[in-house]
Symmetry: C2
Amino acid sequence: MIPVVTAFAQSPDRGRGLARDMRVRWALEEVGQPYEVRLVSFREMKEPSHRALHPFGQIPTYEDGDLVLFETGAIVLHIAQRHPGLLPDDPDARARAVAFMFAALSTVEPPILDLATAKLLEHDKPWAEARLPLVEDRIRTRLGELSARLGGAEWLDGAFSAGDLLMVHVLLRLGASGLLDEYRPLAAYVARGQARPAYQRAFAAQLAVFTGQARPG
Amino acid sequence: MIPVVTAFAQSPDRGRGLARDMRVRWALEEVGQPYEVRLVSFREMKEPSHRALHPFGQIPTYEDGDLVLFETGAIVLHIAQRHPGLLPDDPDARARAVAFMFAALSTVEPPILDLATAKLLEHDKPWAEARLPLVEDRIRTRLGELSARLGGAEWLDGAFSAGDLLMVHVLLRLGASGLLDEYRPLAAYVARGQARPAYQRAFAAQLAVFTGQARPG
């Protein structure tokens, strides 16, 4: 049975690969597993049939036989636990890779999403300009700490893992803010992630949805 | 070897159990595992020796022999994978419980932390009063969705799991905001979590740090 991943029918980022289905696509490409994609509109995401798959009405979801999963962290972990390539074999190293998965989604991403909220949802508020530096400084705190931990290493803890996959994608969401460029080791780290063949294949697949060149699943 | 958990030496919430070490204490109590606690000051948390354990300079950390972990999600998952009581045996049900762990920390907690940030770090800003309703409404969106998913069930997906443990503790952070009381099923869900004997033991242990009745580890 080939798993089915949901993704935006209308790409809000014009195919730049920032939507969360990219994380699942990338993970599946890393472990060499085929998948199908079902596109859902913004309206469909909030309907009961989709909320039965995802209580918070978002993408991606992951359907594999009787299993239905939501939350990219849980989906990527599920894939990584079932196929070699995204988690070390050593139990302690595996637990540390999982720690970086949670760190990406629970510690590094929230301030980055705050910046997106400030720019997209509060850009017309009277406080928008004055508040932005506070939001950016909270991101800088995390980036400085992450950069210090990475140091001169290629990946966060030994070989490339699901922790790096999520962290790289979270950092990509800094996009045109320029913040990533203030931390050269992190910018190089993200570039290493983007250079992986599995990332490239996943990126091309999500871009094809936007350019209309996606083949039917 | 008894694992060592770090916690705040000076309890910022005066022993109300809202610090993240509570999640690890509760998980260890649920599976019946003893643990020791090492208290760290705010200054010590930012020093190199603690950052070697936790790159972001926070608590809790978890040390078990050679393994050092950070991120409460990863620590609770590690405990749940090694001891029965916090994850179902069925692989699909187990993956769904992990999805609710990530949902608690990645989807439900970020807007709740935004409220804490607004109240603690931005309370003296000129926009504080006008912005608060926006922050609260983002929380309401998530609470409404979570309440709809829970419905009349006792726990989020079958028996009590590590997903419920993290979700209940995240919701507790709504504290005196009154938002939880707007969603009766969720308020009852949180009360069920707090009524568990393992929660009570963990709560008493963290309170004893504040009241000065903690026994040396």
